[in-house]
Amino acid sequence: MDNKENIFKIIKEEFCSLWNFKERGDTLEIITPFSTTNAKFISVFVTRKTNKLIVTDGGWMMGGEYDIIPDIDDEIFYRIYEHYLNYYKIKVYEHVGYKYYYKSIDEIELLSSLVYDLAHFMSSIISVSQIEFYDYKEKSERETFKNDANRFIGNLLQNKNIIFNKELSQDYKAVRFNAIITQGPKIKLVRYITGSTTSYFLSSLTKATVDFEIANNSRFNSHIAQRVGLINDTAQGFAEAHLFRHIHALEEHTKRDIVKWSERDTLIPILQ
């Protein structure tokens, strides 16, 4: 065999040469050797804020910079995501519609450990996001309806005071709504319900019902001005005759009739 130490040196040298950087004002972008299964290298950003050193994804992960947006609506994916989030003790900060994943530290000597954790976290999450846990037709149905509904509601409210795909609060992380609209002290919750088959539709409907029930039993109840279940009645899985009991159960918790996508203009007075 060749000189073993030489082999080690070649590998180490090539690995180390993968590190790169870009200066971005007061922030340093570090291009790491950690990569994803869609052939991207992970970048992390290092900056100093009020005496703390912050290592973050810079909002790139949920901003779609890695050509995919992790789907935290997907139950199975969400469990994996939470596992990595907890294991690496990653914190989340939201700011003007961007979601930042980060870790912070006082001492520069410990910075590398944070870069290592965050880069591993991001690489894992982006790679796992490539896996389709639902069948393609269902994933496509949910994505299309989500995009259509987001666009409609965004335009309706001129994208003001609205956050898409957000949890009820930090202590209700598993209770998410597709749109949360803030109007003074009051909030309006919107949940999209769809499915490519009746079974998927039923699952979407049931989960929405439970989440509205939890929201109603939470400390936020008195602040909730409207609860809207937006039903995609154009989806293949929408079979009213099979679903009416579950729709009724949802309406008990939303305290109003469901809104059908084909009659979406009725959302105007509800949300504005």
Partner: protein
């Protein structure tokens, strides 16, 4: 799992090459980015069809409002393949060209770069001679229209015959004096963490 190979391109590489190399035309001299990208309030957006037969090819341009050097040009032909089949990224994530015959360090392609596909349907990134040269690269990034002309050279797009359209993303007073990559954390305080 999402197939990392683009099967449509792999199985119809001649069509892909035609979409890339055949002459296409923009339909207007000035391309204004009047719309906002859906769900991205900070990004101006343009999406229109090029003059090209027999396929319907969309030209998509995205430009960050606050960062003059952050923009993307994309070509998409939806009935051929869902994803854009060619792209220019001025900024953003570094690409890896996975190739067992290529030393690891040479697999790394930082931005700015072009994104295309090889004959096996793999997504690949590359830098032109102009993008590899830091001086020329900076001249290109300072002027989105100049950079667009470079993109048009790569993709054989013209207006009306041998010239190029101009891209107007924002008032000219906001054109950058120096190349600087945006600080994505300039206004983010992380709650005093």
């Amino acid at each position: 799992m999402n197939n990392p190979i683009n099967e449509e391109i792999k199985n119809n590489y001649v069509t892909f090459e035609g979409l890339l190399k055949n002459r296409k035309y923009t339909v207007e001299k000035h391309i204004y980015l009047n719309e906002k990208k859906p769900n991205r309030k900070d990004t101006n957006f343009y999406n229109d069809v090029l003059s090209y037969k027999p396929h319907k090819v969309h030209l998509i341009i995205e430009a960050r409002q606050d960062v003059a050097t952050c923009f993307r040009f994309k070509l998409r032909c939806e009935h051929f393949t869902k994803v854009p089949y060619f792209r220019f990224d001025s900024d953003g994530a570094t690409h890896r060209n996975i190739n067992k015959n290529l030393p690891l360090v040479e697999q790394v392609v930082t931005t700015p770069h072009f994104n295309s596909f090889d004959e096996d349907g793999n997504s690949i990134a590359y830098k032109t001679v102009e993008l590899k040269d830091n001086t020329t690269r900076d001249i290109l990034l300072k002027d989105i229209s100049l950079c667009f002309a470079h993109f048009c050279h790569e993709t054989n797009i013209r207006y009306p015959e041998e010239d190029f359209s101009e891209v107007i993303p924002y008032p000219s007073s906001m054109l950058p004096l120096d190349i600087k990559y945006d600080d994505p954390l300039a206004n983010v305080d992380f709650d005093g963490q």
